[in-house]
Assembly symmetry: C2
Homo-oligomer: 395 residues x 2
């Protein structure tokens, strides 16, 4: 008998991956241009040009033994220092290099953090809709996922639901803003209220609750007036899981970091737990070349305007056709109300129009579908008649 | 309360890393050239020139969205196909691309494989001396490490010890040849006998036992007459955990693979378990750029002659000074008998002569020290008087 849980995880792909594979097959059948694939969050905008020139420069001018050698497990010191300084200058924090731990991307940041803090049976609260792999990561670390639904129709934080979700076993709350799949950005007031609620609850119950902020979409915000509050400024027991996958369009290279808030008394213990968990999970160090790369381009982003323009085209068309859309302020996802109660059936029907939309059920929000609009503007324009016909089919 | 096990793993560095950190401090105090650091297995020979030219070519000529995008979780199909074909041509196997799973290096290969096959409480037999992180990886996957000691003085397989270590709970045996830390290469006869023993035991007890072959040092063999048997040719339930870290001098870039033997009936189940475990541990895919790289240079190696010449200089000098050395046929480690019973005390005394040697105790073999001779030939020559003085201090 193999490990049944992992065999099943390997056999049953996530619904997103499943749809993506269907799309590949369908494209082979009827031509790439005739399938409107909104399934995956794979950036369509190339990495900024500075990425290529920095990679070329590093490879040309670095001694290969140093360039490709092990870094320390937590990451190269000068890389961590550069990123810590940048965070401090942006968010008025006082992080040292020793608060940072370089990782192989956001998923690694999350699994390492969860394994550092969780004991068997402890609970992690997630706000629905949420990235479905959170469940896999939490359960693999021995924890139990507890879902707190967001407010209907707006997908902002529902504090009654958070209150209901908390228990003496709550060890962490994961927040993800800009949100996958809704595109919602939590405002300062919401974050402050969440922080106060958790402080009150944990002091009343003599427990420790960490906020894990999963931030692959931090830089993908479409309006300068919209601020994404930095969790460390509001809550001491906070850990930021960052990734360069989306901001630099490097999802396949696996580079990101964990930042531990040094305002909490036990931050060095938390950091030690992260080092230990990284070791136990087999993460020896984050890729050296890409550590060096991000130290040079951490303040660059891909051309986000493409995503913003995609959002605008798609939103105004969908609303015109009669869809209800939650307005996304960031990321590159849009959450749209299904035109029948069962979003899975709705997504199946959309396939008849060659529209690949992910049902919201796995995200903990039934009745909605997710559109990943990190695609070419041409595909968006070509897809509009299909969205129109789909809506008309319900009239 | 954080996860105490992981906090402790993060605080208590491996004895190898501990010594390496001591070495860094000592070098700052008395000058790099005066410390003879044999602690780490960090290749001293640069990557072969083809690595640099291939990286440059890939970066110059690949569309950045494809180059840096996600690959499928198991790795890019054409990369897996190229490697499977290469393995087949070398070892007369019949692997398809779907037997291969690309990983972030050997540690990831091992943790993913162990999480795929182990259930809580099942046992994994390792042959001492063994790489100490095996214990961390096995225990994190819920398993129990069982040590079978090798034969004294030769460090070849002791079949009596294997027999003693087997139990109805045995799920896997890890072999590592060329071996870290002894440099020993297991011959065909040993591998055949091991395979037969495990087949007999598992058929008698109605159990399944996998051989996990950890092969970061496969290409590092100093004599063409010495063959490293390919486990799939001898044992059906076998899984190869490979890494390019040492063969291509790329340890910091984290690239390797798992190959599942398709001769066993349940190989697709095992592969599914590997996909699931990779997902649960947070390994989204191996770095895209380095997947593409190894598809171009999988048959190249760094200049291994340097390691061979290091071995020869060191071995003849040490034997002349009166040390007992286990002759290494591969890897870049040498296992030397301590000149007093307690190897930890011996390694401490060696520090007085600025020699940094790792005591064998953590490798499951007391009374020996490990010398990592992946260092410059100049350092080896400079270190010889220190080895001589150390030996004389015991006379």
């Amino acid at each position: 008998m193999l490990n049944v849980k992992n065999v099943n995880l390997g056999k049953v792909r996530s619904s997103i991956r499943e749809l993506f594979e269907y799309g590949k097959k369908r494209k082979a059948e009827i031509g790439e241009e005739n399938v409107y694939d909104f399934s995956l969050g794979n950036p369509s905008v190339p990495a900024p040009p500075e990425v290529k020139s920095a990679l070329e420069e590093i490879i040309a001018n670095t001694d290969p033994v140093a360039l490709h050698g092990y870094t320390s497990a937590q990451g190269d010191f000068s890389v961590r220092k550069a990123i810590a300084d940048y965070i401090n200058s942006r968010f008025s924090t006082t992080l040292s290099a020793d608060c940072l731990y370089m990782t192989c991307g956001a998923a690694a940041s999350l699994t390492i953090t969860l394994n550092a803090i969780l004991n068997v049976g402890e609970e992690v609260v997630v706000l629905a809709p949420f990235f479905p792999e959170y469940r896999v990561f939490v359960e693999n670390a021995g924890g139990k996922l507890v879902v707190a639904e967001c407010l209907k129709d707006t997908f902002r934080i529902d504090f009654k639901q958070i209150e209901r979700a908390l228990s003496p076993k709550t060890k962490a709350v994961i927040i993800n803003s800009p949100n996958n799949p809704s595109g919602v950005v939590y405002g300062e007031e919401e974050i402050e209220r969440l922080a106060k609620m958790l402080e009150k609850y944990s002091s009343e119950h003599g427990t420790e609750i960490y906020i894990i902020s999963d931030e692959p979409y931090r830089e993908l915000v479409f309006d300068k007036s919209i601020k994404v509050p930095y969790i460390m400024n509001y809550y001491k027991r906070s850990i930021v899981c960052y990734s360069y996958s989306k901001s630099l369009s490097l999802p396949g290279e696996r580079i990101g970091y964990i930042a531990v808030n040094n305002s909490m008394g036990e931050w060095e213990e938390v950091y030690a737990g992260i080092c230990g968990a990284g070791r136990a999970l087999g993460y020896v160090c984050a890729p050296n070349l890409f550590q060096r790369l991000v130290a040079k381009v951490y303040d660059k982003t891909s051309d986000i305007d493409v995503y913003k323009s995609n959002r605008d085209i798609l939103m105004s068309a969908l609303e015109e056709y009669g869809y209800s859309v939650v307005r996304p302020d960031g990321a590159f996802y849009m959450f749209v109300k299904a035109l029948e109660e069962d979003a899975v059936r709705f997504a199946e029907r959309a396939k008849r129009y060659e529209l690949l939309l992910v049902a919201g059920d796995d995200f903990g929000a039934s009745g909605y579908v997710r559109i990943s609009y990190c695609v070419s503007p041409e595909m968006i324009r070509r897809s509009l008649p299909a969205f129109k016909s789909l809506a008309e089919s319900y009239k």
